[in-house]
């Protein structure tokens, strides 16, 4: 019962894979609704899953925060499949069409399984295997289009990702050597504040930093975001980042918790560098996917602020911001995917005049960008406010200043895109985009969520309560 969402997703993946063999090209259009049904069933199962419990001798455990992570992964997958539907159908425009929809969806679902398992792992073996399952399929998805750009993106992602996982694995080895146990919960009592612990922590953080695009480890992000098909980029920027955060929380809060306070300055520096570089480099980008890559890097910097406070406040702020970031980023990507699908362009300047051609799409994109920038009534503001207040409570007032300046800088480049849409005139002979109903539904839902999450206090209250319960389950 505890593992039901994962099992449903695996089963759906296999059904799609086998069914794909017997369908004609036209009938394969059925695979997208089938995948959506599977993910919806998993969401239902997650709703019924208790948020406490242990399976497989303690190697798989549910806790209240893991529940929220799984919710984020499932929602992100559901919306991503909705946004991809236009590119997977048999009638999709040829050069940008994603071939073999059955295999694409299967790999996406297996990737999702890895992420779902990741949130529940409690020992090094399951953590490593789940993490690789949450990473390796992404290499394939990034290289899905067999063109020069896709291959290059896939190769770069694969090599750097494998190096990151080797570093992390070496860190796990050191951790195992120091403690003599594989169980994450038993580790804090066996660790001492010495160089070996720091060495293991540094290797592991370097490995996770790759997934979370923290700054010295972010070099792959702009290249892969640009070369991968836009729906995969959307999935990468949301789900892969959420997976990275769930590992980092597992490692920092569960294993290195006694030392978290000692390294908070290092975390503050990492956050500063990540958000500053992300925001400054985003200003000069002309390609919208690279632009979104640097935006995503800076968002990872904000997320890190939650680690400055060891208590449940930091965890709650991070999980809430992750949820908000996921829906907001997906709403932005919905328009980017549609624009790329119908014009084939990824240039920022090709969005000029969108407000005259497609007023509703332009409005939705503007709300999404404002949410990412953190403009008040939108959820992005509330999420950032909570994160900044965690940093302030931990005594890092200078960091709050840096983060606030960074938010302002980020507004500058988000507004560059808004300016293209609202002030510039449309190009000669530009035609309005025609969104499919599934993409429109995905866009409507995520845009609505990115507004309501900030206004309706229930969601944050539940996250907060879950974080408090989770802290108690840590037993400290």
């Amino acid at each position: 019962m505890l593992m039901l969402p994962e099992l449903i997703i695996v089963a759906t993946g296999f059904i799609l894979l086998v069914l794909d063999l017997f369908l004609t090209e036209k009938q394969r259009d059925l695979l997208v609704p089938l995948a959506l049904a599977g993910i919806a069933a998993a969401l239902g199962a997650l709703w019924l899953t208790p948020d406490h419990g242990v399976l497989l001798g303690g190697r798989f455990a549910m806790d209240p925060l893991a529940w929220w992570f799984k919710l984020t992964f499932l929602i992100a997958a559901f919306v991503t499949v909705m946004l991809t539907s236009g590119l997977l159908e048999s009638a999709a425009p040829e050069p940008r069409k994603l071939h073999s929809p059955g295999e694409f969806l299967t790999i996406l679902l297996f990737n999702l399984t890895g992420m779902l398992l990741l949130a529940s792992t409690r020992d090094l073996i399951t953590l490593y295997v789940a993490l690789e399952l949450a990473t390796i399929p992404l290499f394939l998805l990034a290289a899905w289009r067999r063109d020069a750009l896709g291959g290059e993106a896939g190769l770069k992602y694969m090599v750097i990702g494998a190096l990151a996982s080797a570093l992390m694995l070496y860190g796990f080895g050191v951790l195992y050597g120091v403690t003599g146990t594989m169980r994450l919960d038993a580790m804090p009592a066996l660790l001492h504040a010495d160089r070996t612990t720091l060495y293991a922590a540094a290797l592991i953080v370097a490995g996770v930093g790759f997934k979370l695009t923290l700054v010295p480890f972010h070099m792959w992000a702009p290249e892969v975001y640009q070369g991968a098909p836009p729906p995969v980029t959307a999935w990468l920027s949301v789900a892969s980042k959420a997976a990275g955060l769930s590992v980092l929380m597992l490692v920092l809060f569960r294993v290195f918790r006694p030392f978290l306070h000692d390294v908070s300055f290092a975390i503050a520096v990492l956050a500063t560098v990540t958000m500053t570089i992300g925001n400054l480099v985003a200003i000069v980008q002309r390609n919208i996917l690279r632009f979104m890559a640097f935006s995503a890097i800076s968002q990872a910097g904000y997320l890190l602020l939650g680690f400055l406070a060891g208590g449940s406040v930091g965890a709650a702020a991070m999980v809430f911001y992750l949820l908000v970031y996921a829906v907001t980023n997906l709403s932005v990507f919905a328009v980017i995917i549609l624009h790329n699908q119908q014009t084939g362009s990824t240039e920022l300047t090709d969005y000029r005049g969108l407000s005259q051609l497609n007023p509703l799409l332009a409005l939705a994109l503007m709300f999404g960008l404002f949410g990412l920038g953190g403009i008040p009534p939108l959820a992005g503001f509330v999420g950032k406010f909570l994160l900044f207040s965690v940093a302030a409570q931990a005594g890092y007032h200078w960091l709050v200043g840096v983060a606030a300046v960074n938010s302002t800088v980020s507004l500058y480049y988000y507004l560059r895109l808004v300016r293209q849409m609202y002030i510039e005139a449309p190009a000669e002979g530009a035609v309005p985009l025609k969104p499919g109903w599934m993409l429109s539904a995905g866009l409507a839902v995520t845009t609505a969520a990115s507004m309501l999450l900030g206004v309706v206090p229930t969601v944050y209250e539940s996250v907060r309560a879950s974080a408090a319960a989770w802290l108690q389950s840590l037993g400290q």
Partner: protein
């Protein structure tokens, strides 16, 4: 000869120097190799260095840490590492083959199509 070997049996430190060296060589190879397949081979060295670490720690540390009970966690981890490394290489080679068909090269220094 046998006496000499028993008297100079390698300790954990020696083995750790070996795995560190192996990892460093792999890292060096990943950074300097121009052929993508060479990069992949260097990556294998890194992963294997980490895998050997687990066997070592299992052999030298885990039995005492667990009150003398025989534990095989580290050895089991190594098997998983080998399996995952194989999956990683398969995916990597698939991508390289697809890229070779498109560009007729897997020279990593010539991958510069992605830029702003």
């Amino acid at each position: 000869m046998a006496d000499f070997l028993t008297a100079h049996a390698p300790t954990l430190t020696h083995w750790l120097v070996l795995t560190s060296a192996l990892f460093a060589i792999g890292l060096y190879g990943m950074l300097t190799r121009r052929n993508a397949v060479g990069v992949l081979m260097s990556l294998e060295l890194c992963l294997n260095a980490a895998a050997v670490n687990f066997v070592l720690f299992n052999r030298y540390l885990a039995p005492t840490a667990q009150g003398g009970a025989e534990r095989l966690d580290g050895a089991v981890m190594t098997i998983f590492v080998i399996a995952v490394a194989a999956a990683e290489v398969v995916v990597g080679m698939a991508i390289f083959v697809a890229m070779y068909a498109e560009r007729r090269t897997v020279d990593v220094t010539r991958l510069d199509a992605l830029k702003d």
